[in-house]
Subunit: 231 residues, 6 copies
Amino acid sequence: MKIMVINPNESQAMTAMIEKTCAAYLSPDTQLYVRYGGAGMNSIEGFYDGALATPGVLRHIEYGEKDGINAYIIACADDTGLDAGREIATGPVVGIGQVAMHAASMLGAQFSLLTAQRKSIHVLKSNARRYGFANQCAGVHALDIPVLDLEADDADLNEAISQHAQHIVHTDAAEVLVLGCAGLSRYRKQLEVYLNLPVVDGLAVAITFAEGLFKAGLSTSKANTYRRAAR
Amino acid sequence: MKIMVINPNESQAMTAMIEKTCAAYLSPDTQLYVRYGGAGMNSIEGFYDGALATPGVLRHIEYGEKDGINAYIIACADDTGLDAGREIATGPVVGIGQVAMHAASMLGAQFSLLTAQRKSIHVLKSNARRYGFANQCAGVHALDIPVLDLEADDADLNEAISQHAQHIVHTDAAEVLVLGCAGLSRYRKQLEVYLNLPVVDGLAVAITFAEGLFKAGLSTSKANTYRRAAR
Amino acid sequence: MKIMVINPNESQAMTAMIEKTCAAYLSPDTQLYVRYGGAGMNSIEGFYDGALATPGVLRHIEYGEKDGINAYIIACADDTGLDAGREIATGPVVGIGQVAMHAASMLGAQFSLLTAQRKSIHVLKSNARRYGFANQCAGVHALDIPVLDLEADDADLNEAISQHAQHIVHTDAAEVLVLGCAGLSRYRKQLEVYLNLPVVDGLAVAITFAEGLFKAGLSTSKANTYRRAAR
Amino acid sequence: MKIMVINPNESQAMTAMIEKTCAAYLSPDTQLYVRYGGAGMNSIEGFYDGALATPGVLRHIEYGEKDGINAYIIACADDTGLDAGREIATGPVVGIGQVAMHAASMLGAQFSLLTAQRKSIHVLKSNARRYGFANQCAGVHALDIPVLDLEADDADLNEAISQHAQHIVHTDAAEVLVLGCAGLSRYRKQLEVYLNLPVVDGLAVAITFAEGLFKAGLSTSKANTYRRAAR
Amino acid sequence: MKIMVINPNESQAMTAMIEKTCAAYLSPDTQLYVRYGGAGMNSIEGFYDGALATPGVLRHIEYGEKDGINAYIIACADDTGLDAGREIATGPVVGIGQVAMHAASMLGAQFSLLTAQRKSIHVLKSNARRYGFANQCAGVHALDIPVLDLEADDADLNEAISQHAQHIVHTDAAEVLVLGCAGLSRYRKQLEVYLNLPVVDGLAVAITFAEGLFKAGLSTSKANTYRRAAR
Amino acid sequence: MKIMVINPNESQAMTAMIEKTCAAYLSPDTQLYVRYGGAGMNSIEGFYDGALATPGVLRHIEYGEKDGINAYIIACADDTGLDAGREIATGPVVGIGQVAMHAASMLGAQFSLLTAQRKSIHVLKSNARRYGFANQCAGVHALDIPVLDLEADDADLNEAISQHAQHIVHTDAAEVLVLGCAGLSRYRKQLEVYLNLPVVDGLAVAITFAEGLFKAGLSTSKANTYRRAAR
């Protein structure tokens, strides 16, 4: 099968990291198409960034339909353009923020979401409610660190992130931690050990769930909501 | 004060109608700026149309900020780009779908929403839930008539719309009808008489509420969610 | 048009303040009728006070109907007698607590409510849920200061109120503050500066929204719930 | 123990019927005090009637406190003045609408509510949500028969009510029927046989639950909400 | 009438205490049948314990049906086997956790739940939501003391429990405290004095409510959900 | 990896069908362990059956832990024993009812659930709410055909099921159909063609999601809720 993974922002580093993560989780017989956005942003912080990045995401899906892509992954925790994408895709379309919450809700009674910027808290909280996880999502918290700074490999930063996560998990009585920002993926293993809890990186789950939905013979419904507008 | 009304689609007829409606409800000392989108669509039907139309809406708000606009109205029942627009606006930003529901919830115990296309039902239902009107919104229904066909002035169509609305209101035990499509504005008076119920046209309410929020000294909060991303 | 503003309590100072606030926000062509309750209470604290004050509110609305009043405002954050009033009014009836929450929900992702007495917290929380703002209302808090003491003009009190509000807004991650007690109106400007957030005084919004609903041709629905009982 | 049962309306027939029902369910060692309202209404239909009847209910509770009443029952399905009554009562205060829903939710997965007038539907629906029974309450329906006409003993009426209830229960897939109007009490037995379902008359349950709460040593909490306002 | 009280665990001490509590609250003409589980556990901590204890609870109900039992009480705050039990019982079946929440919601605006082990928090929170008390239940907290240690009569433990409860009630702004563990019954009186709040012991309420439902002529609905499967 | 699939009932035909379905979806490097319950039931209909079948499910998981099983699937749409199973499993545990709803919510705006018996409606509805799908689940409906009769290969039955599903999907405006009974798996393809909608068979999804969660390095959280009770 063919999976397209779309990074809605233009960060090359992020795109490379996404490609690497995909390689680690992909089935041998899945062909991978990684794409990135073209709206000039290196990170998506809030609704405005998301709105500007969406047309680029949709363009990739339109090309993907011509290339026979079987499933799409939107590789941003905000699930940039998810509903719009489903209108033009034949196969399933999942966002990494969305599947991370789905997975977390099957692993523990409640989860916390950790994101980079305070601006993103409401976007994620609002998504959590929309997807149905109002009760399971015990809290959404920001590191207050610019997304791009997360790429530094720095012992102090590592320790600060671990402690912050610990504090959040304790406050929320969370049983699972969801990484609500693709830039946090590299801290997953470290946090899992530090917190002694499952830590969900949406991208890893998205790869396997997108493959799973396709293998189970499922596609996006073309009744009503996700039917293409007749013009 | 200065109000900008943005029609997210490119329909000239719709824009003219919006301008006319605004003129009827505007305070004498309010200056009106009517703008329309530039994404090539004559109507917004569903998430995909909305996503493509949003950058145009945002561009108008950015220009508006330079022109000292005090409040913005997004003149589409889907409230295209509402959250994103708030990030870049100083004054209040309201959508006509949103204020229509707010108004309806103050006039009767529950309301029905009537839209043109079935594709829009979920967009509106999802907005109703997000704004807090899950209990007040008794149903969202589609006429299954293309938005642009609503512009025809035709006795049969008029009667069909009235009967359809009657059926909806009866089924939902609705006490107020909300017009969930700008193209339905012209039927408001007719429906009010036919149904003997308040029928809410979001645009009329949006004008007066946007003026009201500004007069009450209120603006969009710049804490967290609607703060512009630092770059 | 004619608007009647009803202060459900008997405080002359409060009534004078209401009259003054109305004058500041009213359209030039609106005639104002300010009335106050007659149940012997100088403030409404809790359900019991509200229940005893309601018949007085309703009597004013009954007189108002004879005088051709076009819209009513109940000038208590508890929205004393709101639903009952709608049964006997032709035009729209809004409460200042209600419209304050409506306005706040259009200005930020979540708001906090500040009231005078702990007894009122549940009344306001329960109203917030009923109106649909369970998600938007991040918290309701009491100053634990008697309503009437708020009328003192005292530097220490001013500072205490500002600090208390700051604490609340921080704890709730609120983006808007709603004043849930008419006695707090005089602190609005001060709090807006101190908190750097929109601070909503329901009365100001109520004036403009009540005018707006009337100008938009809307009235209270007489289907089912708010139809007068046949006797 | 001493229980006061307050009929918020002035109907002598209803008061007599209440007294008779109480006698059938009361424990031998409970002293019964039946009181009725004094606001001139023979039935409570909607919010307005409820608001006018409330002060009379509260006055009885105030007298009751002097007489050492241990628990109060408000004998109207709308639970007229329930929250206000709790502020001035020491012992538990329950409404017959409220306890009927509590009981029904323990007997089947979902219940329907049957009331006399359409005006009361929203009052009851709103109460159901407030008490927590949004999911358990599958529907609220009106017979559209004046409350007082229910007192007629007429075979056609009996049959009509049974058929109407059958229709409601079928439509809602209800497993329990709740009588949402004191005037329907006399049909309980008949409906139970006809529908082959538990049919809950709130008054019967209220007597036993009020006795139960008192016997279990419980009283109304005087923290915050139901504490009497300090004056 | 005949009531069967089933302790789902095997603790003899707990069973004796249950018998003693029942004796204190039972009506003189009610015959009491106390039974205990047979799955080898001395306390029910979490879903797993609950699942293993359920068949024993059901067996007792099956015997009870042969003995003409009129109502059943499941004497564990987790309400072990409640839904399953209703399928095979004719009369009402209530759990002590369930009725405690019902009672608490009639005595104050919101309640806190106190249990022994952290494992039980989610079970109780999930039950609170299912029964409809998501808004009324302000928090569920654990003492982190093994259930069986609660049987010790120790001044230090008493003081620790009182202080812990005080802290919980303060944090949650709770107006009622619900004891979410049968082992806490013995602390009810002490806590009521210390907190100056109603403290609900489910067993006491269960006795009186079960009697009340039966006296009011009510039984478990045999429509759909609680109808025995046809085999 | 090793996956254990547990059929909570004793039906050999069902177990064989499960084994066959698994073979169709399993990754080549996954070892499959199919087990079936031992409580003497050939189908699980309602809470009582579920409660009696649960200990058998748990016993298989306990054995599985000794055999190094990496993920568990409970192959009943009621998700028999799901929470309890998570307390004793190291790897993820998913139910086929649960994952079917998760998948459906990613493929369309709302789904309908189809089950065999009316007794199961509330079990599934209650699960849908608990998992977070109250808004996405537009309705749960029963065929009113005994589970075992579904195994007949009969043209009339096939047609009846298709028509019934069509009716349900139309009534609910569903965009996806979820098969809420393992016995319906064999009708999936037929229904997908007939309805022109995605039709979700939980077992197929469960296989791929369970593999996916394990591949993504995730396991059941051992904080609080799903930690084994210390004894």
